[in-house]
């Protein structure tokens, strides 16, 4: 623990020197990071927007990892979820009461489908999920671009995006004048749901058993193929729902650039949160601070964007040393020789 603390300090010092090198004042830089993330109601709202966008894919990753399924594909699932939500939403003219649930479900369904492909590949053929989800990420991006620009192009859209959703399909904000919407409580609800599912239901129990010791789980009558598929449908569904909340809550349309890699950062978030849904919420908040505060580092402390990236890297490195997080590798460790 002490060495980890020393490591953290060293990394922060490195971050400070990177700012120094960029001609920025490190103290001002860190101050800007915090002020930008937490300095006022607007800043906090933006931080929570980022937290929410990270939370969905992070929960998705955590759930899959708990099942022993190494889902590197939350990014693709999120994109497909957003895509479906955007394509449907841009064409839908319904009051929000009926339309919003429909659009959100479309997103969840899209993500579930995308995750389900990887799940089915493993359940049916034993196909390695890391490869499958990595490939599906690339295919999702290409598919989104193709559909949005090509056959399903919305008239009037200039870029690789859909037309704007009707305001009735926008998620209601919970803090007027900000982009903070009911997506946040929805995310918390999903977190609570995942937590309950894992700790209190038979399905959650079987899912965790499959992840922790597949051999013992098989002997306990647990159908691992079904678990792999179900876990990935759920995991993908959560990530896809996240994509749909970005579309309906933040951008009000689908855009191929809707994610700066939330699905990849989510892996780190999930692991820092030790795959525990409630702790993942806090980890997502920590990363949300980083995401939103880093914008202010640019604006206020004149820290260039790339240095911000470097600092994020250093902070994530510092977080990795926080504890021996139970990565999927460690989940496999239960299968010992002898």
């Amino acid at each position: 623990m002490r060495t980890a603390a020393i490591g953290g300090v060293v990394l922060l010092a490195l971050a400070a020197s990177a700012m120094e090198l960029a001609g920025a004042n490190p103290l001002l830089g860190f101050y800007a990071l915090l002020r930008g993330a937490l300095g006022g109601p607007h800043q906090i709202a933006e931080t929570l927007v980022q937290t929410t966008s990270l939370l969905f894919p992070s929960l998705a990753v955590a759930l899959a990892f708990r099942a022993g399924f190494f889902n590197i594909g939350a990014e693709g699932q999120l994109v497909i979820g957003g895509l479906l939500a955007g394509l449907l939403g841009a064409r839908l003219h319904l009051p929000g009461i009926a339309g919003l649930p429909l659009v959100l479900s479309a997103g969840a369904l899209g993500g579930a489908l995308w995750g389900g492909i990887a799940g089915a590949l493993r359940a049916r053929f034993g196909g390695n999920e890391v490869v499958a989800t990595l490939m599906l990420n690339v295919i999702a991006a290409l598919l989104a671009n193709y559909l949005v620009v090509g056959p399903l192009h919305s008239p009037g859209a200039v870029g690789p995006e859909t037309a704007e959703l009707a305001p009735s399909l926008w998620l209601p904000t919970i803090a007027p004048g900000t982009r903070l919407t009911v997506a946040m409580p929805l995310g918390l609800l999903v977190a609570a749901g995942v937590a309950l599912l894992l700790s209190h239901t038979v399905f959650g129990y079987e899912l965790r058993a499959s992840g922790a010791n597949p051999q013992a789980a098989r002997r306990a009558g647990i159908d691992q193929q079904w678990i792999a598929l179900a876990a990935m449908l759920l995991s993908g569904g959560i990530a896809g729902l996240g994509g749909a909340t970005i579309v309906t809550g933040v951008l009000h349309r689908f855009n191929v650039a809707l994610s700066p890699g939330y699905g990849f950062i989510a892996i780190a978030v999930a692991l820092v949160g030790e795959l525990d849904p409630l702790r993942v919420v806090f980890a997502a908040f920590a990363f949300g601070i980083l995401q939103s505060g880093s914008l202010t580092m640019q604006a206020l402390a004149h820290v260039p964007k790339d240095v911000v990236t470097v600092i994020e890297g250093l902070i994530i490195l510092a977080l990795s040393a926080r504890r021996f997080a139970p990565s999927a590798g460690r989940l496999r460790a239960d299968e010992r020789t002898g």
Partner: protein
């Protein structure tokens, strides 16, 4: 060689406190003399493994000192072998023979062959370790340590996985080793072995040395009393029960390769223990797995007159319960608590299942029952199973199998690695299950256990099951010969 009488290994005032304030060893002194075989015994959780790991330098003591002359080798009970490497690779790891910069595989194989010949331990250097049955894997670990020419060699429960004939040859090896001047320390729960082979014995209880036996003082009852701090409970009485039909297997085949089950036809009545004797690796694990529904099989299986079909889930629902051979790999999720492990396999039916939820109160009740009935030594039912000693892990697995009132109990080496007191408890509960009308299939490598428990017995050799014999017809010699494959000898 060493000066006789001078200790090859000396532990003084060794204390070990695990995280969580578990005091596993409390001021232990022990010394090993070159050329002698020294036995270390004690109940499950007494601190034996902790002690030998400290002696071998694998674990740091909290306080106290360890002095050794020369190499100290430790043969673990849960082997430290690498499954996906070949035997020769495991043996030479760390001091590989070289030819230039290259690894000299031929020399390594030759070394393995030479060693296994000189100690009479037959080994194929090119076998993949993960394909080996436990008994042979044990040999690999032994040869690996022998290759390092140790001054002190320590074994943690080496015979738990060996067949009678193998045990004899194992001790022959150990004696040869001692004769060459090595000091040997053996951790074992089998008191008969101590009496037969050891020259000295030390008994641990709750982390303290409670008795030492010198040359000529070793006596079975005294050791047993010292271990458990009282008398060993007697086995439960066998009560004659109604003999309805339990399990019927016809022409059962399963698995592939050397350890496949080639053909088995037998029946186990309700209220009966059928024991399958055999040396590990002759198809018995596949047999158990086929009945449990974990591996696919050909042939027919019936339980109480109805075909036994489907996977593990369906069979559990029919009342098939198992005590698997490898508790850590197949039986438990060691990172989970006792409570969660106590209901593994029963998660899908009442009382554990309530709607879609797990009834945590019922699960806790189940865990407490098992802990009480089987005397599982643990600080709490919420601690992780990883912190339990091996024997206590085994008791948990056994207790779980019996908690569900099984119709068919598959017990694979049920007393592996547990102390005499606990073993008596486990054996008594197998008999109790039988008396209650369950069909019990006992698979064991230990003749003593088989002779103590079985109503009928069959022998498995190279995947073929012999005809079953009645309890009265038991004859050690015949069974031993059948186990070794001498079919015509009978």
């Amino acid at each position: 060689m060493n000066v006789p009488g001078r200790a090859a290994l000396e532990l003084r005032a060794v204390r070990k406190v695990y995280p969580g304030n578990v005091c596993a060893l409390d001021g232990v002194d022990i010394e090993l003399v070159p050329g002698e075989i020294h036995a270390l015994c004690g109940e499950n959780g007494a601190g034996k493994t902790t002690l030998v790991e400290i002696a071998a330098g694998e674990l740091r003591p909290t306080s106290g000192s360890v002095h050794a002359i020369g190499n100290v080798g430790l043969v673990h009970q849960h082997f430290e072998l690498i499954g996906r490497l070949h035997v020769w690779e495991n043996v030479v790891l760390g001091f590989e023979p070289r030819r230039g910069v290259r690894l000299d595989a031929e020399a390594a194989r030759a070394r393995v062959r030479a060693l296994s010949q000189s100690y009479g331990l037959e080994l194929d250097p090119d076998a993949l370790v993960e394909d080996l049955p436990v008994g042979i894997a044990q040999r690999v670990e032994l040869v690996r340590e022998l290759a390092r020419d140790p001054a002190v060699l320590i074994f943690d429960e080496p015979t738990a996985v060996l067949a009678p004939a193998e045990i004899a040859s194992f001790f022959a090896t150990v004696r040869a080793l001692a004769a060459r001047g090595a000091a040997v320390l053996i951790v074992t729960h089998k008191l008969g072995e101590i009496v037969a082979y050891a020259e000295r014995a030390t008994v641990l209880r709750a982390g303290k040395v409670v008795a030492r036996f010198g040359k000529g003082q070793i006596e079975l009852d005294a050791i047993a009393r010292a271990m458990v701090g009282g008398e060993i409970p007697a086995l439960a009485e066998r009560v004659v029960t109604a003999l309805g039909m339990g399990l019927v297997a016809r022409d059962l085949e399963a698995g592939q390769g050397a350890h496949a089950l080639r053909s088995a036809s037998f029946e186990v009545r309700r209220g009966e223990i059928l024991a399958i004797a055999g040396v590990e690796g002759n198809g018995q694990s596949v047999l158990a797995d086929a009945i449990a529904g974990v591996v696919p099989s050909v042939g027919s299986l019936e339980l109480e007159g109805t075909p036994l079909q489907g996977g593990a889930r369906e069979r559990i629902a029919r009342g098939v319960r198992t005590i698997p051979g490898d508790r850590q790999r197949e039986g438990l999720i060691v990172s989970w608590s006792l409570v969660e492990n106590a209901v593994l396999g029963d998660q899908d039916r009442p009382p554990v299942r309530k709607g879609i939820a797990i009834d945590r109160v019922a699960a806790g009740r189940r865990a407490r029952e098992i802990v009480e009935r089987f005397d599982v030594r643990t600080t709490s039912i919420r601690t992780t199973v990883a912190t339990l000693s091996g024997g206590n892990q085994q008791k948990l697995v056994v207790g779980r199998a019996l908690a569900g009132a099984p119709r068919l109990l598959l017990a694979y080496q049920p007393t592996r690695g547990i102390d005499v007191g606990a073993a008596a408890l486990v054996q008594s509960s197998l008999i109790a299950a039988r008396n209650a009308g369950a069909a019990v299939l006992l698979i064991s490598f230990e003749l003593d256990e088989i002779l103590a428990l079985a109503d009928r017995i069959a022998v498995i050799y190279r995947g073929m099951l012999s005809a079953t014999m009645l309890r009265d017809a038991f004859d050690r010699g015949t069974i031993g010969a059948l186990m070794a494959g001498a079919q015509r000898a009978s």
